[in-house]
Symmetry: C2
Subunit: 213 residues, 2 copies
């Protein structure tokens, strides 16, 4: 597939398109115009057309988009036509919550292993995976074709674990630790800083309150 | 506090400044130049100055920023000088993970109650809070000065719960359900769509792989 460089802002919107198209598909909708999609998603039709033009446009304007085709194409762009094996590092509440989340599997993200340094958690099961000690991380990644590591450990340990991961074949870190990670080029990092998100919420509460005064 | 309209992009960066300044403060650093902050955070010094100019600049250029002052001011802008009481709706793994996360409390976000519709979960304790039935949601919010509701339930139930919340005094919904919510004006919504984040990661893996071929 040939692509020009697409901005991360456009990329960030693709999963949302994918989600809405999946729901339309499930409801048996075959075609949708950019106007109707615009109303449904509360974004402008011109935004939709601009976003899709980054990927060649996906279909005739005026006639509308073929929902299944568009869904499949966006899925391919998102890499969802491949299976991604992942491990979770940190078997606390958050790690277990993510491990139990079946929707990831539907999208081709397969939980293969969990790791923790706490001896009390070793051997515990999350679905059909049991928690392993940190010593086995590198060999497990090598032997099980793992390409994503999910980091759900406190920030103190995250930096050194990310260094270890950087020396493996891993292609991406989904980072829930509240710290920015340094990784080698070629390792993608997607941060989910929950506290940051909560602070943004707090800002917006505060701003709205001030506006009303 | 008087403010012009600040873009959400700037707002999104404030928690990260706050986090770095908090770490500098903990290390006893008293002053920092925008150049040093720039190197530490891997953003340009001009970006930092532009961002801070939205809020009046926070101090003399050349002389550097007073770390504690800047930390406190950004904290105030983020509304972290007030206490926010919150409830979690959905006492599954993710809800319990968030309920157990002590860092929120340090920032003034206090867990007051948890709710679930599953009778098996009612009465279970998360720290010093026990899970209540959904029927008690509105009265609990009214009587406990709750301003944030965290939604950690499947998307099927999230829309109707958000409607119920829209009729209460709640000021914000922190939404982990994989669906976009419609709420009355004045209710802030901050979405954490974990699947979207994972898909973005998958896109970046895929793009990098294609570039290497």
């Amino acid at each position: 597939m040939e692509e020009k460089e697409i901005s991360q802002a456009v990329i960030s919107r693709l999963p949302r398109y994918f989600r809405y198209l999946g729901e339309l598909k499930d409801r048996g909708v075959e075609r949708i115009s950019s106007q109707d999609l615009s109303r449904l998603m509360h974004v402008t039709a011109s935004q939709i057309r601009q976003d899709f033009n980054n990927f060649g446009g996906f279909g005739q304007q005026g006639y509308g988009y073929n929902v299944t085709y568009l869904y499949d194409e966006i899925g391919k762009i998102l890499g969802l036509d491949r299976q991604h094996n992942f491990v979770i590092i940190g078997a606390g509440n958050l790690g277990r919550a993510l491990g139990n989340y079946m929707n990831f599997e539907r999208r081709g993200f397969i939980l293969k292993g969990m790791f923790d340094r706490d001896p009390e958690l070793i051997g515990r099961r999350v679905r059909d995976v049991s928690v392993m000690p940190m010593e086995e991380l590198e060999s497990f990644i090598r032997e099980n074709d793992i390409d994503i590591a999910v980091l759900t450990i406190p920030k103190e340990g995250a930096v050194s674990v990310a260094e270890r991961l950087g020396k493996t074949q891993i292609r991406a870190i989904w980072n829930f630790a509240h710290v920015d990670l340094n990784v080698p080029e070629g390792v993608q990092v997607e941060n989910v800083h929950l506290s940051d998100s909560l602070m943004k919420l707090s800002y917006n509460i505060n701003r709205y309150r001030n506006e009303q005064m």
